[in-house]
C-alpha cells in the first residue's frame, strides 16, 4: 500500500511538472473551467433555494382562494356569495379578503393595499412593508398621503413597519382598516375581493373545489397546490432561461476542453514516446494523465462550487439576482436560507468532472498503446 501511495505521489509530481511546462494554457483552462462551474452552481443553488423558500412560506397560504370571474376577468364577490359557500360540506372556515393595488406616482411603484382579517390597524392608520418604508423614507408615526382613484387625497399615519424578516412576502404591503380601505377605493359595501377557505380534511380539497365550481359556476377556485406549482414553474422557467443563455458558454467550453483533452499536441506525443522509451508502462502513462484530468477538474469543481455558495448565500447572488428574482421598483431585500440539493450537486459534479477526465484519457490510451518510435516521430 505504501509503495502504491509513493508511486502515485511520484506520478502526481511528474504530472504537475508536466502541467507547469504549459503553464499559461493550463491556467487559462482552469480559470474558464472554474468560472463555468461557478456560473452553473450559482444558478442551480439560487433557484433551488428560492423554490424551496416559496414552497416553505406558501405552505401557510389559504388552502383554497375563491375568485369570481366575469367575462374571463376577476370581479368582486357580491353579497350572498359567502353564504352559498358555507353550505358546501368540508369547508371549515371562510374569510372574505379585501385587497387591491395602488400605483404610487411618486415612487412609480405598485403597492398592495390589504385589510387584515385580524388585528387590523385603527381607522386612518396604516402598517407598511419594509420596501415601502425604504422607498418613501417612512417610519412609525409619520404621515403619508395617497391620492385615491377618485382623485381625493387620503392621509394616513404609519402605525408600524412590518418586520424586515418578512420582506419576501410583505415588501409592498400597506395594511389598513376595512373602513379606510372602502373609503379609499370607493369599494361597494358588502363586496369583497375574494374569499379564502380552509378545508378540514386535506384529502377533500379537490372535492371542495369541484363542489364550488358546481354550486357557483362563475367561481374560480385556486388551490394551494396550484399556487405552489405556479412558483415551481416560474423558477424552473427562469433557471431554464439562464441556463439557455449559458448554454453557448457551456458549448464553447466543451469544444475548448475536448480540443485540449482529445487532440494531443506534438509535444505531448513526444513526451509519451520518451516516457515509453525509458521504460514507462502504458498503465503508468494513463495513470499520469488520469491524475492530470482529476487535478484540473476537481480543482475547478471545488473552487467553482465553494465560490458559488459564498456568492449566493453570503453575497445575495448579486450577479444573477435581477434575472432570477424579477424586476421591480420595490425590490425586496432578503437573505435566502440555504437549501442545497444533494442530487443537483451530484449531477453538477458528474457532468463537470467526469467528461473532462474521460476526454483526457481516451487519446492518451490510444497514443500509449502505439509503438514509442512511431509516436515520437509523430
Amino acid at each position: 500500500m505504501k509503495l502504491w501511495i509513493e508511486k502515485q505521489r511520484y506520478l502526481i509530481d511528474f504530472t504537475l511538472a508536466s502541467l507547469a511546462r504549459r503553464k499559461a494554457r493550463n491556467i487559462g483552462l482552469l480559470l474558464v473551467y472554474t468560472l463555468l462551474v461557478f456560473m452553473l452552481a450559482s444558478v442551480t443553488l439560487y433557484t433551488h433555494a428560492l423554490r424551496q423558500e416559496a414552497a416553505r412560506v406558501l405552505v401557510a397560504s389559504p388552502e383554497v382562494v375563491v375568485q369570481r370571474m366575469v367575462a374571463g376577468r376577476h370581479d368582486l364577490i357580491p353579497p350572498g356569495y359567502m353564504e352559498k359557500i358555507g353550505r358546501i360540506r368540508g369547508v371549515q372556515t371562510r374569510t372574505a379578503r379585501l385587497w387591491g393595488y395602488y400605483y404610487d406616482a411618486v415612487t412609480k411603484a405598485n403597492y398592495t393595499f390589504m385589510v387584515p382579517a385580524e388585528d387590523a390597524p385603527a381607522k386612518g392608520e396604516i402598517v407598511v412593508g419594509p420596501a415601502l418604508e425604504r422607498s418613501r423614507g417612512l417610519a412609525a408615526n409619520n404621515g403619508i398621503s395617497f391620492r385615491s382613484y377618485s382623485g381625493k387625497l387620503h392621509t394616513f399615519i404609519v402605525a408600524a413597519v412590518l418586520p424586515q424578516a418578512t420582506e419576501l412576502v410583505s415588501a409592498d404591503l400597506v395594511l389598513m382598516s376595512e373602513e379606510s380601505f372602502r373609503a379609499f377605493f370607493d369599494y361597494p359595501v358588502g363586496h369583497y375581493t375574494d374569499i379564502a377557505l380552509t378545508v378540514a380534511n386535506p384529502q377533500e380539497v379537490k372535492n371542495v373545489a369541484l363542489k364550488l365550481s358546481a354550486a357557483l359556476p362563475d367561481a374560480r377556485p385556486i388551490l394551494r397546490d396550484e399556487v405552489l406549482r405556479t412558483y415551481a414553474a416560474i423558477f424552473d422557467w427562469r433557471e431554464g432561461i439562464v441556463l439557455a443563455l449559458f448554454s453557448a458558454a457551456i458549448l464553447a467550453f466543451g469544444i475548448l476542453a475536448w480540443e485540449k483533452a482529445s487532440g494531443l499536441s506534438a509535444e505531448e506525443k513526444r513526451e509519451i514516446g520518451i516516457l515509453k522509451a525509458i521504460g514507462w508502462e502504458t498503465g503508468d502513462v494513463i495513470k499520469m494523465k488520469f491524475w492530470e484530468g482529476m487535478l484540473i477538474s476537481l480543482t475547478a469543481f471545488l473552487v467553482g462550487f465553494v465560490a458559488a455558495y459564498v456568492h449566493v448565500f453570503h453575497f445575495a447572488a448579486s450577479m444573477f439576482e435581477p434575472v432570477l428574482k424579477g424586476w421591480a421598483v420595490l425590490y425586496p431585500h432578503f437573505q435566502l436560507t440555504p437549501h442545497i440539493d444533494g442530487v443537483q450537486v451530484a449531477t453538477l459534479f458528474f457532468f463537470t468532472v467526469f467528461p473532462y477526465a474521460a476526454a483526457v484519457l481516451v487519446p492518451i490510451w490510444k497514443a500509449a498503446i502505439t509503438d514509442p518510435d512511431s509516436v515520437m516521430r509523430g
Binding site: L16, N110, L168, Y309, V329
Partner: protein
Amino acid sequence: MTRPADRAMIFLGLGGLAFFGCFVDAAWLRAAAVDDDAQRLQMVAQLRLTDLALFTEARYTRHPSQADLHSAFQDHPLAIEHFPTGSLIGPPAGLQKVGAGEMKYPAAGTAP
C-alpha cells in the same frame, strides 16, 4: 520542503473541506433563520397571503397565482408584453405540450 504532490493533495483536501463546509454552513444558517421563517409563516397565515412580493410592477406579476391568463396581454389579444418580469414568466404548461393546438381554459389557477 514539501513535494508538489503533497502540496496539491493539501490544496485539494482544503477544497474538499471547504466543499463540506458549505453544507455545514448551510445547516447553521438554516438553524439561525428559524425565527425569521416562523415570522414569515405566521404573516402568510395571518394575512392569508398567496404570493411572494418579488415582482411588484404589474398585478399579474405581483400575484401570478391569482392572475387570470389574459392579464399579461390585457391591452388587446396581440399586445406585446411590456413588463420585463412578464416576459420571464413561462407560458402555461398546456401551451408547451407538443400538438397542443388549442388550450382549454384551465379549471383553476394553473401555472401562468
